[in-house]
Symmetry: D2
Subunit: 306 residues, 4 copies
């Protein structure tokens, strides 16, 4: 039976659970959150949902205060979405403040996961995504292949969305990837992008404007909703299923990069035990520069909390 833990049942964690119950591929979801009334409310609402659908997922709650989160011991995947978006809002959405808050949260939670003996794969969403994925990997003591961040998976979707809008093609006919930090220094690997089999360079598009649109995609949603959840929670589900099904799919994620010594958005093949290999998608010279620069930005953030 597929079993998934979700740590942090805010907007993103709750929506991840909702989509997971809707899709019906997972036999048990373990919810974990500091706010007991909130997590019990989400459990009840998920159970009402499942009672209406024709799917079977058992929803359980792990006691947050336990020193060892034993219910995660035999989970196949943990989705990590703990954060504090309200606090962030109070600080004007400053990424630096977020880094301080969420790295502290990750360090508080890691020992409880470690104590459980969990030996599956973590799909980490919490921002700054690349740094938090690394902190979790180090603090829980998992192999580097056992942790992925959702990374530029969401930006890859936004790239497809932006290119689809600009060309009139369907999102699903745009292929290619966004690489780098899950943040402002990310960049589309334009040399990899095709539109229904046609190189994007054939379309005479202002690619820098498109890149700006992709970066702005998240802010547009955040400004209007005060959070983002649909895209990112779908991204987390699809990534988790690639692992649960031992799919060997190549997925845009934040994966540990041996050369850089850190987690960064690129493409990796995922299977039952996490990352099987990083895919050497060809980057041209300027893309390689952007990748180096983006990795440097992640490194700078990482150093701030070490």
């Amino acid at each position: 039976m597929n079993k998934v833990g979700i740590i942090g049942i805010g907007h993103v964690g709750a929506t991840s659970a909702l989509i997971m119950a809707q899709r019906g591929h997972v036999g048990e979801i373990v919810l974990v959150d500091k706010k007991e009334a909130k997590v019990k409310a989400e459990q009840a609402d998920l159970q009402d949902q499942i009672a209406i659908l024709d799917t079977d997922t058992t929803i359980t709650v792990q006691d947050y205060d336990a020193e060892s989160w034993d219910q995660l011991q035999d989970a196949d995947v943990i989705i990590f979405s703990a954060g504090q978006i309200e606090a962030l809002a109070d600080h004007g959405g400053q990424r630096d403040y977020e880094l301080q808050v969420t790295s502290k949260i990750a360090r508080e939670i890691a020992p409880k996961v470690k104590a459980s003996g969990f030996n599956g794969v973590i799909v980490s969403i919490t921002n700054p995504c690349d740094v938090i994925a690394q902190i979790l990997q180090e603090e829980i003591g998992l192999d580097k292949s056992q942790v992925v961040g959702t990374g530029t998976g969401l930006e890859t979707a936004r790239m497809k969305h932006a290119v689809a809008t600009a060309t009139g093609y369907n999102y699903h006919d745009i292929t290619g990837y966004v690489f780098g930090e899950h943040g402002d220094t990310m960049f589309p690997v334009w040399s990899s992008v095709k539109v229904a089999g046609q190189p994007i360079t054939d379309f005479q598009l202002p690619l820098d404007d498109l890149t700006a649109k992709i970066v702005d995609g998240g802010y547009l949603v955040y400004r209007g909703k005060a959070y983002t959840n649909n895209g990112i929670a779908t991204r987390a589900n699809v990534t988790a299923e690639a692992i649960l099904n031992d799919s060997h799919r190549a997925i845009p994620v934040s994966a540990y990069d041996e050369a850089k010594g850190l987690f960064v958005g690129q493409v990796a093949v995922l299977g039952r035990h996490g990352i099987e290999k990083v895919v050497p998608v060809p980057l041209n010279e300027s893309e390689q520069e952007l990748f180096d620069k983006s990795a440097a930005a992640i490194k700078a953030n990482y150093d701030k909390v070490h």
Copy 2:
């Protein structure tokens, strides 16, 4: 192509759209909301979601300020979820205050829908559900068969959830319905309830306690989350699909009752044009009394805003 409008993109409307995009049965969703930045943010987040999934749903936005909401003209179904749950929170969740606010909203919106020439079916969620469904039907001038409220559909799920918990059976093996007001006077038709083919009366359960639990189910979620969305948005989707597929399914909804002259939670057969007939589920004497009492409560509320 199936086309659905969703009016009111708060938690419930946004989650309804998210689930609809996930399920992929609908070709176009038209979003309508007073808050422009919010509705555009939801549109973008839904598009990011669809770019990740393998489904095809076009997400459009109807200009709220237009006098005629023309994009709804050829919609097959409208989900009505406009409300103001934050205002409600400020008034301690008082149902009376909610009635005043939402009946006003319904009356503001109805002419814009009417002007579009919409001639499909409305699935109304906004509370108090039974009264608002009736106001919409009257103000838009649709046939009584063209409007349903989600009514006691959600309580029916909560009844299954409560009985499953009490008996150890799976939600999906509990059959039967909850009738009456979508509110505190609702009641399970216990004489209709079976547990994997066994009458519930064989289980020696404290049925009044179970009824209390069903009523409390919504409050538990509301207290912990400040809103409810998973169950109700799923309920709205399932009801909409029963209509879109011309399914002739018997669904617990708020349907117009000829004898009572109002909308009230009962079972109705739904097809492409809305309600095909109300199902005469047998009620025993005490259940009939509860039904009368519950209808009276709806009537009292209805009279307050007429």
Copy 3:
């Protein structure tokens, strides 16, 4: 990862795999069949199918000639659909001949499954369903809770279909079960059947005619197609998923009956380890007689091959 073996890739086994790949809940399907070219062809056709869908299921083939079918060792569920429907056709569809052929096949295959160390749950389809389920359980040496036949699950669907046609209601609004032999002595437990909450006895239907229609349902399909596959393969999938998800659902299956000492169609709660309990659905006096008579028919067949 969910792993399922399918033994016997004729029409029913192949369709079971097709539906399983379509639904996408299973990470690996192991195909087993005597005809090597056939099983490789089905593997390739399934892989073409999956390449078009957005699901991930690995399709592998177990060498039939191996003494131990090691690829089934860690399967969670085996669907057993080995038979020889063409030979049956040559004998005018005689059930007696089928019994001789399929019981021999089951006895040939059982040691290979046993040798693998398989310790999951078998969902057996091969006819005569109740007898073959028992032979498999005995010969493989599994616990009685680890084997279910699809039994009257299909007749339960046909009962819903027949009642829906007779009343104008939707299949999904008919609740209740068919019990007994998967064969001509099966019987609907009419006292359990409701139509959208209304007892079927309120409808003044000729119930004996409806029973005859249910029995004939299979023959109608068989006469027109020379086999049946959609319904039975769907039934097998739904039953397998109830097990894989540890759902605790109450499912109409052929389950071992302690009192009768044999496998017979009734309702059982299914979980990860197979049957958790048989549900004591109330039978009235005449239904109890039919049950006894049907069990006796199974016993007579069982004795013919022991």
Copy 4:
């Protein structure tokens, strides 16, 4: 409500209906077949299937002998899968014989479809696919944009399958298309093919051997099963859904080519009214030669039956 007709309920047509009922996007399927007992048997088996699933699709049967197939009048899509694979087998699978048989069938059926006033989109599967698509378009008198053949959609899946096997990547990470005749002169547009973002030319694969494998993929299945159904029926469903949802997806199909004056496998954008445009996927010089040659092969066949 989405409504689809399926003409020809052999293995491919029946499997198309089975998958369609499983997916649940279509409200009504109209089955049409010369063999009345067969079509009624498929109807009943589909209804049994739907009674088990949680989907709602009405299955109806069009009287074959009627001069006008009126039930198709308001269908959105017709899947055309009429043929005579058994007769083909008797003639050693000779394509020439097939052409004579199926072109005659298409010409017999076309007037009945035309008489109904059907004005939707035809997705034609029957072989030789490109020629039959054209005959249907001409004989029914639909616009060229209203007919597509499944064409090289299936070979595109087989290309992904072959490349995935050769490289160890997942089918879904292979992008690109196969063009040309649905038959032995088809060819992968290797210059369009990427493997998880990497050009296939980086992999040092024997591409001609891979091409041979793709051609042989169909024969392998045919030899082992005596027909193919999973892949092609899935392909037809996905193509039909792209139309039903007005998706504007770029799909590998057999589409009318203005320059060649015939239907040939290439990529086209599909929407509610059929083909919106042919996508100018860049072909290198040798690919263009292969395309010309393949088109000539189609032309030669087309001329044989005109």
